[in-house]
């Protein structure tokens, strides 16, 4: 009734006014940007593009400012109105020509990345109530076309050489930054798929492998003790570190040739082994005091968004100094998780020895959240391979794992002694430490608890199930 009265009321307004306001309110609630408004905004974008593309009167700086301004709007259109954009062929053609296939500088690509995944957008619904991980998912999960645009932008300037030698990059950290941001976008948007690099230019050659090896050696040889001053070379060392870390991370992004795969596997194994020895020895010597650290100020030389990201994944928030030991642990964890991807190339005995070795290392570093997470991914990969070959997976009394039905566990006999030590982590204030500890604990063979109730004796199965239940109840 109210609507009818309202419409009659509008009929008494001037003619042009009726057209303007004759809407059912419900059709517009929650839809500020309708097709008509979108068309107007897109017309402005087109018009501005003509202004800076065709004007010979503009100096380079002005053209760059205008382009950035226009690309901000384009980025937000991609982020929030992709579905509507895809409905109109002319919009897609414009974006394909001007953005996706355009020849852009690293700086502009970085700008687009940041605008699309900007964390500081106002009015993100329920932002204040989101957990950190939820917020990252919200920001970094893109729709198909936006992901495709970013992929084109990143591949435009991509080569392994640029990561390893930083050759040809206008600004070395900026290029690493772009790649890292794409890595995060891929992680949240398209994790299950790998990008196929078919062109020759994407293959690793001996020279590059040698450079990468040098880079890895430089990282491993950094002094853990503070007797060596790192202040002057910190930035260079940080960039070297990030180069190696990104290479290891990006390995998961791309599908590479079998030959390159073998080369990389050897390098990763060596790097993991070297880091193992360095960090393990240092732990045994208990050199906790006076470790080399990198001041937070040095990190501010990195682009802001990159720093924020690494703060989440590598550096702890609110920390003013970053221990080199922690950084190396993160690198080792990342390398180990990638080694897990090669499980299918190994037989159960080799995997058995590797798990045993790495489990001990993990126990010694059980409070390091990134390492726990990486170790969990490593176990996941190994177990998924073993599970796929369940019939051929033989277990002996000396084996690290046991097969029970269609499940594979780490042997209770071997790893049961660590349960208590690991369980301490379940009261750790950091949620991720508790989460990954539990994930690892649930991979250990459940313990049989005998229980007597009256005359009947029954058995309750499950060390870790019980722990999980306790945690859920708490």
């Amino acid at each position: 009734m109210y609507l009818i009265i309202k419409r009659i009321y509008y009929l008494f307004l001037p003619k042009n006014f009726i057209i303007f306001f004759f809407f059912d309110s419900n059709s517009l609630i929650g839809n500020l940007i309708n097709q008509s408004l979108l068309k107007s905004i897109f017309s402005i974008v087109r018009e501005l593009d003509t202004v800076y593309s065709n004007s010979n009167m503009l100096d380079e700086e002005t053209a760059s400012i205008l382009k950035k301004s226009n690309f901000t709007v384009i980025s937000k259109l991609l982020k929030y109105k992709e579905n509507d954009l895809l409905k109109e062929k002319s919009y897609v053609e414009f974006l394909d020509t001007k953005v996706k296939r355009g020849n852009h500088s690293d700086e502009l690509i970085n700008f687009v990345f940041q605008r699309i995944i900007e964390e500081s957008d106002k009015n993100i619904a329920h932002r204040d109530y989101m957990k950190e991980e939820e917020f990252l998912v919200e920001n970094y999960t893109l729709r198909r076309y936006s992901y495709d645009v970013l992929l084109h932008l990143i591949l435009q300037n991509f080569s392994w050489e640029r990561i390893i030698t930083l050759e040809g990059a206008e600004n070395s950290t900026l290029y690493l930054h772009n790649l890292y941001l794409f890595f995060i976008v891929h992680k949240y948007t398209n994790r299950r798929n790998k990008i196929q690099l078919q062109s020759e230019k994407y293959k690793l050659n001996n020279e590059l492998v040698h450079s990468l090896q040098n880079l890895m050696d430089q990282i491993v040889s950094l002094p853990l003790q503070s007797s060596h001053s790192m202040e002057e070379s910190t930035s260079k060392n940080m960039i070297n570190y990030l180069q190696v870390l990104l290479f290891v991370k990006c390995f998961d992004l791309f599908e590479i040739t079998a030959k390159d795969r073998d080369t990389i596997y050897k390098m990763f194994t060596q790097l993991n082994q070297k880091l193992y020895e360095k960090l393990h020895q240092e732990k045994i010597n208990n050199q906790q005091n006076g470790v080399t650290s990198i001041s937070a100020e040095k990190l501010y030389e990195l682009p802001e968004a990159m720093r924020n990201q690494f703060e989440y994944e590598v550096f702890r928030r609110d920390q003013v100094e970053f221990s080199l030991r922690e950084l190396l642990l993160t690198l080792k964890g990342e390398t180990l998780s990638k080694i897990g991807l090669f499980s299918k190339d190994k037989n159960p005995e080799e995997l058995n020895a590797m798990i045993e070795n790495e489990f001990l290392f993990m126990i010694n570093n059980k409070n390091h959240v990134d390492y726990l997470r990486s170790f969990h991914y490593f176990l996941e990969e190994v177990f998924s391979h073993l599970k796929a070959n369940l019939n051929s997976t033989k277990t002996s009394s000396n084996s690290s794992f046991v097969v029970e039905g269609d499940q594979i566990y780490l042997s209770l006999e071997k790893y049961g002694k660590y349960i208590e030590e690991m369980a301490i982590n379940l009261s750790n204030p950091v949620g991720s430490v508790r989460k990954y500890t539990l994930e690892i604990l649930t991979k250990i063979q459940p313990h049989q608890f005998p229980e007597t109730t009256g005359k009947n004796e029954s058995t309750i199965v499950g060390t870790c199930d019980a722990l999980k239940l306790c945690l859920e109840v708490c």
């Binding site: 303007f20 809407f23 940007i33 107007s40 905004i41 017309s43 974008v45 301004s69 709007v73």
Partner: protein, 155 residues
């Protein structure tokens, strides 16, 4: 402002917004921009016939003033503040007591911004000296961004 005649609006906007383009060291520019933005918005909001043709004429004159005159930081802040006031004050799902009033804003909000876009588009398409108007073009980009960012475009 609602009691003004249509022909008086342009002058009125000139008088209200003039302090923004003539910096006065005594006044805090940011505070001034903020207050003028609110004054302009609430003068429309208080009108019984929210977003009538007269309201649109007022809005159009605000935008034209910003595009016609020298764009100071205060003018930029005022225009963005004005747009944010419109965005903030038209949230759907308000409580029932405000429904009748809010609804009128919600109904026309999309068209209102379309009107903004048309004013901008007309200005851009007739723009002659780009070099001197970079700031204004950036402002247009910012306004479009504000609309898109608002509640994730409400999609």
């Amino acid at each position: 402002m609602r009691k003004l005649k249509g022909s008086e609006i342009e002058n009125f906007i000139e008088i209200t917004m003039n302090p923004l383009i003539k910096p006065d060291n005594v006044l805090d520019e940011s505070l001034l921009a903020n207050h003028i933005a609110k004054l302009l918005f609430y003068s429309i909001k208080n009108h019984q016939e929210t977003y009538t043709s007269k309201s649109l004429s007022i809005i159009e004159n605000i935008l034209k003033f910003a595009l016609k005159n020298n764009l100071t930081q205060a003018t930029r802040e005022c225009v963005l503040g004005f747009i944010n006031e419109i965005l903030i004050h038209s949230r759907p799902k308000e409580d029932k007591a405000q429904d009748e009033f809010q609804e009128k804003i919600i109904i026309s909000k999309s068209n209102l911004f379309e009107h903004f876009a048309k004013v901008f588009l007309q200005w851009v398409s007739t723009l002659e000296n780009v070099q001197e108007n970079v700031g204004k073009i950036e402002l247009i980009g910012q306004v479009c961004t504000e609309m898109l960012v608002y509640h994730k475009g409400n999609n």
